[in-house]
Assembly symmetry: C2
Homo-oligomer: 363 residues x 2
């Protein structure tokens, strides 16, 4: 993550992973989720915080989820049902439950199908937010599979040259296991920056770089500016402008829309009155394609070569998707997860309001 | 395609599609391909020219292919063999034949698997150039499926901050059918511009815009420059710079590398002494996910809404991936395919050298 998004150390409070999991799960139980579902939800969110993906961690998502549980946009303890089923694919209905809970289940279903026929694809419609979708892709990687996840969510992206938003930030994630190296884990919006980054920048006082956002009118903002509310500023497709390749970011977002949404038999998200999320999960059983040990060794060789590639002047090193987050995770497991002190105060307020346990802090 | 890449009308000669197909197929037969394979090869190339994708049409690719046939890099009439097979997936070996020939066959195999279990994935290793991979994705779309194609080819992309190239331009294509509207057909390198665009710009006198290329040292060139030879200039990952999101273009290229190459049980392309291409083809049977008629109607509604989205000031209209190419195809089928007069001269030379038919021109 770029420096401009990081919480300044003076405002940081470190909390132990275990305590954060316990408190977050307890909050989900108070919202009406079963203990098992609450634990899955906490796992998805805290995993993001452990990896340093604050845009999808507890501080940004949890207050929004609570509002949606309360106004009924998110259904607690929702029914997850299979609409269509074939040996390699399934379409399911999330019953307006949180994708951070149905996501792991849907990926496990894709894994079972992949074990049977080599690859499996499971889509979910009528869902709510799926969190950092790389988390779901990693579930497959831990089973010696390649995992892919995509989500259609929100309505923030103007098509290139368009003055009306037509797509969400529609992220794509892929995970593949290695042997000794940190796994390959790519998870990125098809916009230049994730939508949540605009809100995060407002919180931490960061600015929008040229080519990151468009105004409400769809015109790319090509100078550095203070971020406005999400909606007044929306992220540009990856590539920023037509000349920079924004038609590719837009096309990738549309690919996500087709695979998550239209393939599932529902209208494109742009026609929805009430916003729902749609997800795509797929797993590729490495053993059906080649040899698992060889694959993992080949991954190691590629990953090691990438991370030891000589950098261009002015930079320390080359990284690959998942490496920094893996290093962050080692640090945070050992030393606690840094939260903004305002977030810790918010948790304190929740503990008194909802009667959930108090969040511990690292001394 | 941006104006800077177009052949100036004063240098254009229009040739009829049928004549171009005939001559190109005859050239492939002279290289040792069977009539059927030669016809498939011509179809892939001429389809690109029909759609206005000159970077992957006859003018750019054919002279290179002939050189490679002659030096043995491309094997004529190669054996295409299945290495691994499961109900939903297969790994195949292209026997160093051209991907523009094996590609359609591999996609058809993926389609058969999708018909059986809902989705099918077929990879090809030891292959040569696959042309515009959107062509292969469209084969699935014509069968009421969603088609995806990816290729690992070349060694042109520096990872973000890296001073050594580690990936090709690794394109991703997806096609999905509509009912009345032109199909959705996205086909794009994970670099800002395709590698061939650098060569094409050199031919037509176009310049490189800021953020399009890096020098051999990996440092992004952030001003407008004359293009150097491919290799001296290499395309930057989509996003151009870290702040512009180049880590996403790099990550997407790596996704392509994992799905085409490592999943097939071979080493990453960066370790190859002799360059081969690897491909990934997948098909999703729409009927296994939902209702085909409903899907096509839903596509129409989305596509129509995109193309009628009010544009931002200074632009005529909004398009979607595949629309301009579809319009181009209508024009070129009716009025002939515009080739640079130097390309027509090259064909004349081939006719006298190889004894293939002479290319007709449109009066």
């Amino acid at each position: 993550m770029l420096e401009r998004f990081k919480v300044s150390p003076q405002y940081q409070v470190r909390v132990p992973e275990a305590s954060l999991r316990e408190v977050v799960a307890a909050i989900f139980e108070k919202m009406g989720e079963s203990p098992e579902k609450a634990s899955t939800a906490a796992d998805t969110l805290v995993s993001a915080d452990l990896r340093g993906i604050s845009t999808h961690g507890v501080s940004v998502t949890l207050p929004v989820y609570l509002r949606y549980y309360r106004d009924g946009t998110i259904k607690a303890n929702s029914q997850w049902t299979v609409l269509r089923d074939a040996p390699g694919v399934a379409v399911t209905d999330g019953g307006h439950g949180l994708g951070i809970i149905t996501g792991p289940g849907a990926m496990r279903m894709a894994i079972e199908k992949a074990r049977a026929v080599g690859t499996g694809v499971v889509t979910v419609v009528n869902s709510a937010h799926s969190g950092a979708i790389g988390h779901h892709a990693m579930i497959a990687a831990r089973e010696n599979m390649v995992g892919v996840a995509m989500t259609s969510a929100g309505m923030y992206m103007h098509p290139t040259f368009g003055s009306v938003t037509r797509f969400g930030t529609n992220p794509i994630a892929i995970a593949a296991p290695a042997r000794h190296e940190a796994p390959f884990l790519f998870d990125a919006a098809t916009t230049v920056i994730a939508g949540n980054k605009i809100q995060l920048a407002r919180r931490v006082g960061g600015k929008m770089a040229p080519g990151w956002v468009a105004g409400r009118d769809g015109v790319p903002v090509m100078e550095e500016v203070e971020p406005l509310e999400l909606g007044e500023h929306v992220p540009l497709p990856l590539g920023s402008t037509r000349e920079g390749g924004s038609h590719k970011g837009y096309g990738l977002a549309m690919m996500v829309e087709v695979l998550t949404t239209l393939l599932s038999g529902v209208q494109a998200s742009m026609f929805e009155d009430t916003r729902t999320d749609k997800h795509y999960f797929s797993a590729y059983d490495i053993a059906a394609f080649s040899d698992v040990d060889e694959f993992r060794d080949n991954m190691d060789r590629m990953l090691h070569t990438l991370m030891t590639t000589p950098p261009i002047p002015g930079h320390d090193r080359v990284v690959y998707p998942g490496l920094i987050e893996h290093e962050e995770e080692q640090d945070r497991r050992a030393n606690g997860i840094p939260l903004h002190r305002d977030v810790v105060r918010w948790f304190e307020q929740m503990s008194s309001e909802l009667g959930v346990p108090w969040l511990a802090t690292v001394d």
